[in-house]
Symmetry: C2
Subunit: 446 residues, 2 copies
């Protein structure tokens, strides 16, 4: 490998591998870490790994929460793509931005805005990379209007384990020219190939956005309101749900009060567009629909920024004061209240404090299990019971275990338990077809 | 097979197969035609075919233009799904409609409208089936705003060649739970599995739509206008391009004049939404952008319907008076004028009369080669030269051979010539993984 990567700052072998790359809960050590600068270097490393039967894990910003980018086997090569972080081309006419995979979402968003355009997906981890976002099909706040990462990917360059290169997708908007391989690789968590280039779809930046906060006495009324808003044809940019209990963590960390103290469940709704009158009309119509709300506030621009920051800080507040595990379930939008109510029954059954917040416009709940009541010894059994119950109910309601974080390692057991065998068999057959030696991130997803 | 399908109106073997199912240009005969009523019958037929190593071709409305549903080998079983044409479930809360695959697009559109909802894709062949639309990822007029069939498919049930059943996708809007197999099957032209159930995404029917006709002296100015409209963030429901020469076929067939005789190239633009003022403002802004137009007409509802009908009748006019072949190329939107200009050079070079119309909002041109100047003997060589040149140029401009019709048989040669070998190899590997005996519609696409 020293023939491939000659720069000692970009290749770490054996004991020289920084601890940050090791699995913190394991004594197994990785084989090496390489930080390529070019696709050619990636291909050379892949060929080396193939020849020596070494497992490859690809890593971007290391912000994934499902364990997809974590080594569990020992003796892996970690390909860290964080140095492949350049903008390659902005094409304003086709509104596409071509980038290397290691560029962060923060850099992409800023770059687009600086050029009067917008990259629509908005995952919460701003230091996550585009390559990582593609690998988990990351979602975020704006997915209800603009879709997840998938809907903003025009093209991918992929290095396969046999060293060949695929160019999937194009600047063309429509494509019925052969199998759609692009969407197969999106969300495949680094198990099918290594992403070396990404062409993103940009959109013209909407000129205006306006925000309203709706407060409800309980989550059932809030959820019914969501369904009614969507049924009237409104497509908010963001339509977030959170409970008062969750907001307290943000209030405590920021040492300030949320804009209202009324109600127990909130919807924070932003709409965007180029015509301010239309947007204000839309908020008025949403207020008419929200007859069950105990408070309906139209926020000033400053208040809106503040409310969204406080929404974001729920998670930081939790990190600062508790030990918790965040889930990523999704249900059909008309089951959102059901699943939240069910988590409350589990709260009682297992004595695990439960919070809920999430993207109610697309049925994605981030249930939080706070484990402060339990010792490290007691927790695994409680967690197991809680998750067994919860995921059984989620699948019964037609839901899925992961909306936007991926399966990785941590959700694998329940994913396999609840996914039809024929589906998993088909995934395995495709994995086998594209990576016959099972060297690309094995043991992840299934 | 008589054990599986007992009804003699639904099973035709050997010489009893109606001629409509045979390849009109071949003496080879199919083995049999079955018309299942249930998924269980499909599975039994697949098992029979697998056991006897018989090739299966699945057929819906038989409106495909790429030859995907046509038998070319002899001794095939044709599974005709036209009797599996029921609505299974309308779920108004999740705005999903579950149907059998043999239901026509016309029936689906009407059913949705009757319930205050809309199925957004609008392929021109109203007798095509949803299963067929999924298999070619059919597009149509409204793709610029609402996407192709792919964007409106929530879930598919698929029977694989091994007789197992996949349920891909769900009522959930987001999904990062394992490989995305649903999008792999969409557009796979019946080569990977047999679709037995489809869940469609519906949307609230927009309350209003308004239409403008823009006339230009030439197609370059028309195309620049398209780019400028999209760059300003307008998302028309439909943004169609056609040349005056094409419209003459419609005028002749319908024996009436188009709404304007000015200019040589037209854009017909419809926008939809729930606020009429906003829509009228949008048309005014589009007029401001369209400074190169020699005529800008806002159409009454009646005129709009009439203009769209006349646009649709271009094709019927061609059928009535000429022999022609319709292509389905797509280019990045900023190459639309380039490719149209290039077809005009081929018109001169080969003495083949050329017309162009298409979905300029998404770069999809339907170039028409009129072969009236040529005998059946002379035509193949002329056609070959014309297409060799055209597709080379299309790929040089970053385009693709098919936007919405598929590859089938008729576009296979040029698809394979212009697609990187690594991509085709990956497609073949996946085909082999899911259909190891190559019994599902072999010889199509690649």
């Amino acid at each position: 490998m020293t023939d491939i990567i000659k720069d000692s700052n970009r290749l770490f072998i054996g004991n020289d591998v920084p601890t940050d790359y090791q699995n913190p809960n394991s004594n197994l050590k990785v084989h090496s870490v390489v930080k390529p600068l070019t696709e050619e270097e990636v291909i050379e490393v892949v060929k080396y790994a193939n020849e020596h039967n070494l497992v490859i894990i690809t890593r971007g910003g290391n912000t994934g929460v499902a364990g997809s980018q974590t080594p569990f086997l020992g003796n892996e090569i970690i390909i860290d793509l964080s140095l492949m972080n350049k903008v390659i081309e902005l094409d304003k006419e086709t509104m596409t931005l071509t980038v290397e995979p290691g560029i962060t979402i923060e850099t992409v968003q800023k770059y687009a805005l600086d050029h009067g355009l917008m990259y629509a997906p908005d995952p919460a981890s701003k230091q996550s990379t585009i390559g990582g976002n593609v690998s988990t099909n990351a979602g975020g706040m704006r997915a209800v209007k603009y879709g997840t990462t998938r809907q903003s990917i025009r093209s991918l360059e992929i290095v396969l384990m046999n060293g060949s290169k695929l160019v999937l997708g194009s600047k063309n908007i429509k494509d019925s020219s052969g199998y759609n391989l692009k969407d197969l690789f999106i969300g495949s968590e680094g198990t099918l190939g290594i992403i070396t280039k990404v062409m993103l779809k940009l959109i013209p930046k909407p000129l205006y956005n306006v925000t309203t906060l709706l407060a409800f006495d309980d989550e059932v009324i809030a959820t019914e309101t969501v369904i009614n808003i969507l049924a009237k044809g409104h497509i908010p940019t963001a339509l977030e749900f959170f409970d008062k209990e969750s907001m307290k963590y943000s209030e405590k960390l920021l040492n300030k009060k949320f804009i209202t103290q009324k109600g127990n469940a909130y919807l924070l709704v932003t709409v965007d567009g180029n015509d301010l009158n239309t947007l204000n009309n839309t908020l008025n119509q949403i207020h008419d629909i929200s007859s069950g709300a105990v408070e309906k506030l139209i926020l000033t621009d400053e208040e809106a920024v503040d409310a969204w920051v406080m929404r974001d800080y729920i998670l930081y507040g939790l990190y600062a004061t508790t030990k918790f595990e965040m889930l990523d379930e999704v249900v059909p939008i008309n089951q959102f209240a059901e699943i939240i109510k069910y988590t409350k029954t589990l709260e009682k059954k297992y004595d695990v404090k439960v919070l809920n917040f999430g993207h109610s416009g697309d049925g994605n709940v981030h249930t939080i299990m706070i484990r402060d009541n339990f010792t490290d010894e007691a927790w695994p059994a409680v967690r197991q019971g809680f998750l067994d119950d919860l995921y059984q109910e989620i699948y019964r309601l037609g839901g899925l275990i992961s909306a936007e974080h991926g399966i990785g390692v941590y959700k694998q057991e329940h994913f396999l338990k609840n996914t039809p065998k024929a589906n998993v068999d088909a995934m395995r057959a495709i994995k086998q077809a594209l990576d016959p030696k099972n060297l690309l991130n094995p043991g992840k997803i299934f």
